[in-house]
């Protein structure tokens, strides 16, 4: 099955989730805790993450959508982003760059 990357708050995290990127907890400039990309979270990890006050994790989730469903969702997301930016000045390079990144985020 294909996967997709999503962010979750630590309270939403569950054992068995697979990290999509290196996870580090840094406090006052000191590395307190880290887990590698691809690590499968255990119950102990989740308690340790809570105890180290981690907030958000990046997870590789199963993506059960067919190619057609993914394409249809991307088309809807594109229409929504276009509507949100309809009044924006896309000739301004900064606004255009934000638009491009939001579009990428919504259609990933």
């Amino acid at each position: 099955m294909q996967t997709r990357l999503s962010y979750f708050c630590i309270e939403e995290a569950r054992p068995g989730m697979v990290l999509g990127a290196l996870l580090t907890v840094v406090t006052d400039g000191v590395l307190r805790f880290s887990l590698p990309s691809g690590h499968v979270l255990t119950e102990d990890n989740l308690f340790q993450l809570a105890a180290h006050h981690a907030e958000v994790i990046y997870v590789q989730e199963p993506d059960p959508r067919s190619a057609e469903e993914a394409e249809a969702e991307a088309a809807m997301a594109t229409a929504r982003v276009n509507s949100i930016f309809a009044g924006a000045d896309l000739a301004n390079p900064v606004t255009a760059a934000l638009f491009a990144q939001v579009l990428r985020f919504r259609t990933a």
Binding site: C9, F47, Q48, Y58, A86, L98, F99, Q101
Partner: protein
């Protein structure tokens, strides 16, 4: 101009508004003194059952997902588990949630709270992303209160403000333009007058005042952050309202050394994850 609002006219209504939450003043006054800040938070957490319930919920949620079977009912342990910073954030959000709803009339509270919450999370995450100091929670408060001037307009100039909203919608212009036309000032200025009157620190007042026109006050630490945060909250469609990206200041982005590139995906993901969680937590209680 149909009617000229002045600072004096706006502040003359202050005694008809609910009191600004004392917890916020206490937290802001003790940011440089962790022991005093912890005492203030402890007092507030013990005196507010809704905040205590949310802290216990968060601690139990974290503990349960970590496989812990027994239920945490000890508040100091719950506070130590979720951390001082998160408790402070929760106290500020909870007290301002009650304040905004008591200030709001005509059903505006829910929309402005939802939008303020989204902007406050964007403020904190943008600060973190560009490694700017979040000024000990000031970014969060500025985000939550940036549109408080609109609440004042809805309460005291309801009909005229409804017309302003109609013009902004029909002509697809930023709302500050018809506001200035109708009242002589926009909601950002009215909000800044109120924030000053509540004795909020100057960076918060400036962040509210210039969130639509950041280029004239870019050296104020919260001005570029609140401006960009509001644009992002619309771009990511986070508020329970009509999202519309208008003006984005290139100078504000440059001031923060913020470039929209592949790294922005992580910023967007963090904002979306935190917003989803904050909405669930704060609406559930």
């Amino acid at each position: 101009m149909k009617r000229a609002l002045t600072r004096e006219k706006v502040l003359a209504t202050a005694n008809r508004l609910p009191s600004f939450p004392r917890a916020i003043q206490g937290i802001l006054a003790t940011l440089d003194d962790p022991a005093a800040s912890a005492r203030i938070l402890d007092q507030f957490v013990r005196s507010d059952p809704a905040v205590a319930a949310r802290i216990l919920y968060l601690a139990n949620s974290a503990a349960a997902h970590g496989g812990r079977r027994d239920r945490i009912s000890n508040l100091p342990f719950a506070v130590s588990l979720i951390g001082h910073r998160k408790v402070r954030e929760l106290v500020m959000m909870s007290s301002l949630q009650g304040f905004i709803h008591s200030l709001a009339e005509r059903g505006a509270g829910q929309w402005l709270w939802s939008h303020g919450l989204a902007v406050s999370i964007c403020c904190e995450e943008v600060s973190r992303h560009v490694a700017a100091s979040p000024l000990g929670g000031a970014a969060l408060i500025a985000g939550l209160l940036h549109d408080v001037g609109q609440l004042w307009l809805i309460r005291f100039e309801a009909d005229a403000f409804a017309e302003v909203q109609r013009v902004a919608r029909d002509e697809a212009v930023s709302i500050d333009l018809p506001e200035k036309e109708a009242f002589g000032h926009d909601h950002a200025t009215i909000g800044a007058w109120l924030a000053e009157n509540w004795l909020l620190p100057d960076p918060i007042v400036q962040g509210i005042q210039y969130h639509h026109q950041p280029d004239s006050a870019l050296d104020e630490p919260l001005v570029p952050i609140v401006h960009i945060a509001e644009v992002l909250s619309h771009a990511l469609d986070l508020s329970q309202s009509e999202s519309r990206v208008g003006y984005l200041s290139a100078q504000a982005c440059a001031k923060l050394d913020l470039t929209w590139n592949a790294d922005s995906q992580h910023l967007f993901g963090r904002i979306e994850g935190r917003s989803r969680h904050a909405n669930a937590l704060l609406w559930a209680a």
